[in-house]
Amino acid sequence: MILVVASYGKERLSKATYELVGAARQMGSEDAVGVLVLGSGVDAVAVEAAGIADQVLVVDDAALAKYNPEVWSEAVASVAAEGEAWIVLIAALRSGREYSPRVAVRLNAPLLEDVISLSRDGGNISAQRYSFLARATETLMVESPVVVATVKLGIFPVASSCETPGEQFEVEQSVAARRVRTFEERVDATSTVSLTEAEVVVAGGRGLGSAEGFERLLVPFAEALGAAVGATRAVVDAGWRPYTEQVGQTGKTVQPKVYIAVGISGATQHLSGMNKSKVVIAINKDADAPIFKIADYGLVGDVDRILPVLLEKIRE
């Protein structure tokens, strides 16, 4: 069995789950694809998952109302072992990337992280992924009865619906006690357009001068384009923008059709989060800024002067 761990929010499967099942299907295996739904009150999610999977395994327990890496890894590893899964696919979200190593250790399995391709050839599984701050692409090979992989978002095609919905199974699973107590949860306000799924991203850096400058110059421009708003680490650290908008090594990785970098110089750590964008447009007053090295189109000049004119032309 190929075991896919569902990620979901607000009683709907995330696009990531469709992509994971898509990745499972394109491995060309005859094996059943099982989707594991962990949570509390997840009926709607399980029904939706049945539409794309051969089997849906549900662990519905009040103790699973909130994600925790120890609890999740224990449940996933135990379901994978019992179902004799040869590969476990997990979305490469921050949460997936932090609990998947524990699943790998529990199963004594190799871990393939943040993969952009996956294939199986006999007993070998190979995968590609980016490394060295996304400047290199490496091809990995593992030979193991079971493998754990986290799958990069926005790469694999979404799964299409099955002709007949998959069968649902309730799985009995003892839930580990939590050792970490959490409080003061802060969900950062996100722009209406999802950063990782947006076709166009407009991201700003220190060149916008201030939180006020960011709000006044960049946000309306992004809105006019129907684009998601992104930001650099420096801007987030300065408190101008929420952490959820951060693009780069310590934030999100995006690969939109068009990435517009405004007032961003282009530190390697930032570039690692956006250098796979199809088209990069840079606007910066410093002609020597590294961002221009990876730009398809660039405007060298003051963002204060250029953005209002751009906005005007778009609205025309």
Partner: protein, 253 residues
């Protein structure tokens, strides 16, 4: 109590990379301590300075050149260092086996390491160490204090952040924003030469790679590099760019 801070030697983020068959050729590259790990060393020192009877041990697993980085960690203030010397390149999950065994042997109560390694682009090391030790983990911390055997702080999660409290022993991963790492001073660089730096062989730990890297390529997308200096004509430059967005890229209606 003892804190183990794991440090890794990686290419400087701004250095250029050259691929050689199945790996990146590091022979002519400036190698530095991973900045993500620098935050871990700094945090270990701060916890020691704020507490009583804390010993900070720096650990590196890798080629001979790691010794220089460990001397640097000692100069920053680590009490002693362990170097598991090997030319074998381990993947994060395999490496976690070495780290966990050393943590056990040393009776460590807190393991610190970088949240995302600059060379592997991996986030697995801390979590894998935690699982091997059956300890809890906190990743991507931005605040961390130690009081009465418990850690309190904040860390980033999928769509925001949360506060946490956890008892020791634990594994914590560090990142930018947690602290401002210090620089070694000249007297401390001198003192570091006399501090204990123990060298061990990887073979002692019976750990082998679990993942084989068969090919590494530097692939950069072909870019058009049409750069325009705006100068006195922002309207003209803007019109051209919007034209491209509209007709070529088709992202403006």
């Amino acid at each position: 109590m003892k804190i183990l801070t794991v440090v890794r030697q990686v290419p400087d983020a701004e250095s250029s990379l050259r691929a050689a068959n199945d790996s990146i050729d590091l022979s002519n590259t400036q190698l530095v301590m991973d900045t993500m790990d620098e935050y871990g060393v700094e945090q270990a020192l701060r916890l020691r300075e704020a507490g009583i009877g804390i010993e900070v041990i720096a650990l590196a697993v890798g080629r001979a050149s790691n010794e220089e980085m460990l001397r640097n960690a000692l100069a920053l203030g680590a009490d002693r260092a362990i170097h598991v010397k090997t030319d074998v390149v381990l993947d994060p999950v395999a490496l976690s086996g070495v780290v966990a065994k050393i943590a056990m042997a040393e009776g460590v109560e807190l393991v610190l390491c970088g949240g995302r390694q600059t060379d592997w682009d991996s986030e697995a090391l801390g979590a894998a160490v935690a699982e091997r030790l059956a300890w809890p983990q906190l990743t991507w911390t931005t605040e961390l204090v130690l009081k009465d055997g418990a850690l309190t702080g904040r860390h980033d999660v999928d769509e925001g952040s949360e506060g946490f409290t956890v008892s020791l022993p634990s594994v914590v991963t560090t990142q930018q924003g947690l602290n401002e790492p210090r620089f070694p001073t000249l007297p401390n660089l001198m003192k570091a030469r006399k501090k204990e730096l123990r060298t061990e062989a990887l073979e002692t730990y019976g750990v082998t790679p679990m993942v084989r890297v068969v090919k590494t390529e530097i692939q950069s997308r072909e870019r058009r590099h049409e750069i325009t200096v705006v100068g006195d004509d922002p309207a003209g430059a803007a019109a051209r760019l919007v034209g491209i967005l509209r007709t070529e890229l088709k992202v403006v209606a």
